[in-house]
């Protein structure tokens, strides 16, 4: 499989998965570029222990989580160096919510849900993205996250509970 074939087959998948983590086109593009750099580096040593799709999924998940972590660190160090400044000075650091896959009438509610998802742990965030946005089965998600189906189910239940708590949401 050539590099071009991989892009044709998985480019959209990678971009969309990254978009669910960062909710911003520019950031998702940056992550997609970094994923392909890693794919290019690892392609020659890639062994078919898992399918190429699983391998790419895992790289994208790690890259997205690393991106969020590094952005948080950058933000923190910047803020700590100017700790005496007012919050309004840092508004340009805030990444704008720009998810083209969300319909306008649902934007407000979905943005609130994503804000809550962002407060979850990386694993809880990933389980929700894989099961509820990417539409992966429990079996596939468990394989991607390298855990048993039972552990995945309990992780999901915890994530759901935390999310409902964060959103102050209960079934009507």
């Amino acid at each position: 499989m050539t590099f071009n074939d991989i892009y044709t087959e998985y480019g959209k998948l990678i971009f969309n998965l990254a978009l669910q983590y960062v909710h911003n086109v520019e950031d998702a593009e940056e992550i997609t570029q970094d994923v392909f750099v890693k794919v290019n580096e690892g392609l020659s040593t890639f062994r078919n222990n898992s399918s190429i799709k699983t391998w790419i999924y895992r790289i994208t998940i790690h890259q997205s989580l690393d991106f969020i972590k590094s952005r948080k660190n950058r933000k923190r160090s910047f803020i700590s160096s100017f700790w005496n400044h007012k919050d309004k000075d840092f508004k340009y650091l805030h990444t704008q919510f720009n998810h083209p896959g969300i319909e306008l009438e649902q934007k407000e509610a979905t943005e609130a849900i994503f804000k809550a998802i962002n407060q979850l742990s990386p694993r809880q965030k990933t389980v929700i993205i894989l099961l509820k946005i990417e539409g992966k089965s429990q079996n596939e998600s468990a394989e991607l996250m390298n855990m048993s189906e039972k552990a995945l189910e309990s992780l999901f239940q915890r994530a759901k509970k935390n999310l409902e708590k964060l959103l102050n949401y209960s079934k009507g």
Binding site: N16, L19, I102, S170
Partner: protein, 90 residues
């Protein structure tokens, strides 16, 4: 109490099911190729650092060599001095 933001929907996740897949920008592939090609080029910072280290190492080598040469010269002159002394007493 149900959060008013979510209206009639019973499940939070119903909003997430509605998210559509989007096509990435057509230029993304070229941006990726650019980035991949950039990775193959060694950054100037590393080239400069290695060149700097090499210069330092060569300078240290020259310093020790020159010290060694002057020490050897001193050893030889000492030797001649001793020989001369011996000759004098003989």
């Amino acid at each position: 109490m149900e959060n008013s933001l979510f209206g009639e929907k019973k499940e939070i996740f119903e909003f997430l099911y509605d998210i559509k897949k989007v096509e990435p920008d057509k230029n993304l592939y070229f941006k990726i190729l650019n980035k991949v090609n950039k990775q193959k080029i060694i950054p100037l910072f590393w080239v400069k650092s290695i060149a700097f280290l090499l210069i330092i190492m060569i300078s240290i080598e020259f310093y020790f060599l020159s010290r060694q040469t002057s020490q050897t010269k001193a050893d030889i002159s000492n030797l001649f001095y001793k020989i001369n002394t011996i000759t004098y007493y003989e």
